[in-house]
């Protein structure tokens, strides 16, 4: 194997897989064996219930990823797996963020929420729960900007993808 400096970065992978038990184990094993950490994973049924689509965000070097993709494509239950990292593709993530929100800061928080197109899902005496959608970077920024107020919890869906135009994504 080449000893070029490993080029570690986040990769976005889309898969079309058979909708069967055990598929996820096989896919997770391929990543784990090569030391790739799965950062996020979204599985949903495709229009044909025999298949599911998966979006995986994982961190590692490009050369290992190439090997992982080949091994994923080798799995009987994987119809295909593709690296979509550098493609022009619609990428979205959704997050719920629960922020400490005493009455005296409520106006500030609502202003920020509006600036980021957040929806208010819940408001209590001391907290506010916001829903934010967008690219991963946007969600990271929203998280960061609310940090000084005290984030109670954040729940993120993981990245979902869709090809532009008429192309079918996975």
């Amino acid at each position: 194997m080449e000893t070029a400096m490993p080029n570690i970065k986040k990769h976005t992978i889309s898969l079309l897989v058979s909708n069967k038990p055990g598929v996820l184990i096989r896919i997770a094993l391929v990543f784990a064996r090569r030391g790739y950490n799965i950062d996020s994973l979204v599985v949903s049924e495709s229009p044909d219930p025999a298949f599911s689509t998966m979006n995986i965000v994982a961190t590692g070097d490009a050369q290992t990823l190439e090997q992982i993709l080949k091994q994923l494509n080798k799995l009987v239950d994987v119809i295909h797996a593709r690296d979509r990292t550098d493609e022009d593709i619609i990428q979205r993530e959704l997050a719920l963020i629960k922020v400490r929100c005493a009455p005296e800061v409520r106006t500030d928080i609502l202003q920020i929420a509006r600036a980021f197109d957040c929806d208010i899902m819940d408001l209590s005496e001391k907290s506010i729960t916001l829903q934010v959608a967008g690219k991963t970077e946007k969600i990271d920024s929203v998280n960061k900007i609310f940090e000084p107020y005290g984030i109670i919890e954040t729940m993120r869906t993981g990245k979902i993808l869709m090809a532009r135009g008429e192309e079918y994504t996975p």
Binding site: E66, D77, I79
Partner: protein
């Protein structure tokens, strides 16, 4: 076939019968009883092993010799987990196996019920594919899919977990229903542009070498390989698993390369200007340090598995597909090689650095194996275990025909040799079958001697008995200041008496002068299995040797005077 209602188990057995296999190897248990009950009415021959690992290696040996799938039938829990080493062995060497495991009833799954093990999960990293059948109606489809997946493309083991209520359920099977595997691709012919590119590279090469792997044997490409090699006058080195892919007596044969390969095979690889792998995966026992491997050579890789391309060695030309179809296509583009000076150079290496061993003194394993080769004319089916004797057998038992050499290459599974020989004999009842084993590995699966004995299989079990776990002792001797640790095989039985206690014949060789006489008697003995206990010199090392992780240029031809650095490579 008229439709009629029968048990899921009966349908499982029926689908095995449809596969043109004659034998099923295994061992029963509670949750597999419905399938064993169905076997009673079957034309299949059931071979009762003494341990499920043995059964799996038998099926593996059967598959390697016959080219058909090996079938294993075991029970749940420990029965299933005992097959794991055999499954991994088959996976590493691309052997088609279908392993059918009984299982607890579906409502007991995940409850730690008696003899319940998640064999689907346990085996998933080492199978080509696997199934847990929950709906009895799926049995015909899954069984046919399993055999199809196990035997096509790059073959491998498939596990089918069958809960007892599923095998007991009454169903009306349909064998005509098509199955769809949209995620399973079987490459066949190679890309024409890549083949033309390979042809141009081969035409230009002045010092080419072909590295033939087990893919040649699997695809039946030995004829095409020989044709190509002779037409272009290209020397061929075969991997450990590909012994027999080209007759090793052929002038163009270099024998085996790699860690304990011939000096001339390694020198040829180290000095070639082109290397073409056909169905080999550039295993680390061959390549050593990948950065130093064939640095000045163009590389062509023919493989049916796209995930092997650029995995270990980055190549200049890759052709994905079936080795036989690709070679046949490739030959059409080739005219004539210009390799005369190269072949002369190789002939010089062969003359200067032949395989050799000390003939005087105590009994030498190499001598015993070489005599065995001479006496059998190289025509026997030979299986081996793993360790020093395996390397000596690879070096001195030349193989001329495919499917005549069985060894655990990728996995390095000790205990493989004798049960594999049993499977081989069932696949080829009229062929002489010899298991060359070590005193260590043999004892890992020795209860299978009973299996060989009750079927009166005339297999010969040659134990290269050096009273050590010899390969580890060799490493400790060469790289760890001879600090021997955990390698003394004190307490082994008297193997001749052991044979007799199983109702088998036992022979012993102690001296060089007895080798021919005893081996001849053993080869003539046909009333069931026999053991030949060859008490060889204890501390002989295998040479040549390339330390793990080193380059081919770092080959050691004979015992070194100075202390060697510890190898950087694994295992």
């Amino acid at each position: 076939m008229a439709k009629k209602i029968r048990s899921g188990a009966a349908v499982i057995i029926e689908t095995i019968e449809q596969q043109d296999v004659s034998c099923v190897f295994g061992l029963p248990g509670g949750s597999a009883i419905p399938m064993f009950d169905a076997l009673v009415d079957s034309s299949l021959k059931f071979i009762l092993a003494r341990h499920e690992q043995g059964a799996t290696h038998m099926a593996d040996g059967y598959a390697r010799v016959s080219g058909k799938p090996g079938v294993v039938l075991v029970t749940s829990g420990p029965g299933a987990t005992n097959t794991i080493t055999g499954i991994m062995t088959a996976k590493m060497d691309s052997v088609p196996l279908v392993v059918i495991c009984g299982q607890q009833t579906t409502d007991n799954l995940g409850l730690d019920a008696f003899q319940e093990a998640d064999i689907f999960g346990i085996s998933s990293p080492i199978v080509k594919h696997s199934y847990l059948i929950k709906n009895p109606q799926e049995i015909p489809r899954i069984m046919r899919e399993a055999f199809y997946i196990a035997t096509t493309g790059r073959p491998g083991p498939v596990v089918i977990d069958v809960p007892k209520n599923v095998s007991s359920a009454m169903i009306e099977p349909s064998f005509t229903e098509e199955f769809h595997l949209p995620g399973y691709k079987v490459p066949s012919t190679g890309d024409l542009a890549a083949i033309e590119e390979a042809a141009r590279m081969l035409e230009r090469a002045e010092r080419p070498v072909i590295l033939a792997g087990r893919g040649v044997v699997i695809s039946g490409a030995e004829g095409a390989l020989l044709h190509l090699a002779e037409k272009m006058q290209i020397p061929v080195t075969n991997t450990l698993l590909a012994k027999g892919a080209i007759p090793e007596t052929h002038p163009l044969s270099l024998g085996m390369p790699g860690m304990h390969g011939t000096a001339y095979a390694n020198m040829a690889l180290n000095n070639c200007d082109l290397v073409m792998s056909v169905g080999s995966r550039w295993d680390d026992r061959i390549v050593g340090d990948a950065r130093k491997f064939c640095v000045n050579a163009k590389k062509i890789h023919i493989d049916i598995d796209p995930s092997e391309i650029d995995k270990v060695i980055e190549v200049d030309c890759a052709i994905v597909g079936d080795a036989k179809l690709i070679l046949e296509e490739l030959i059409g583009y080739l005219t004539k090689g210009k390799t005369d000076p190269w072949l002369k150079q190789i002939a010089r290496w062969k003359k200067l650095y032949p395989l050799r061993y000390k003939k005087e003194g105590k009994l030498k394993a190499e001598h015993v194996i070489k005599e065995l080769y001479n006496l059998t004319g190289g025509n026997a089916i030979v299986s081996t275990d793993v360790g020093q004797h395996q390397m000596w057998a690879a070096q001195y038992y030349l193989v001329s025909n495919p499917r005549h050499w069985l060894t655990s290459g990728g996995a390095g599974t000790m205990g493989f040799g004798m049960p594999a020989a049993i499977g081989a004999q069932f696949a080829a009842p009229d062929k002489p079958v010899i298991a060359i084993v070590g005193d260590g590995g043999f004892q890992m699966t020795l209860p299978e001697l009973a299996t060989a004995a009750i079927h009166k299989l005339p297999i010969k079990i040659l134990i290269i008995n050096n009273k050590y776990l010899g390969m580890v002792r060799q490493w400790q001797n060469l790289f760890y200041e001879n600090r021997l640790s955990g390698v003394d095989l004190e307490g082994s039985p008297n193997f001749v008496k052991l044979a007799e206690s199983y109702g088998c014949k036992g022979f012993r060789i102690k001296r060089n002068a007895d080798v021919r006489k005893v081996l001849t008697a053993a080869l003539e003995y046909s009333d069931g299995p026999c053991i030949i206990d060859a008490e060889v010199e204890k501390e002989t090392n295998v040479f040549p040797m390339i330390p793990a992780g080193a380059g081919l240029g770092d080959m050691i031809l004979e015992a070194p005077k100075a202390k060697l650095a510890k190898p950087v490579g694994g295992a």
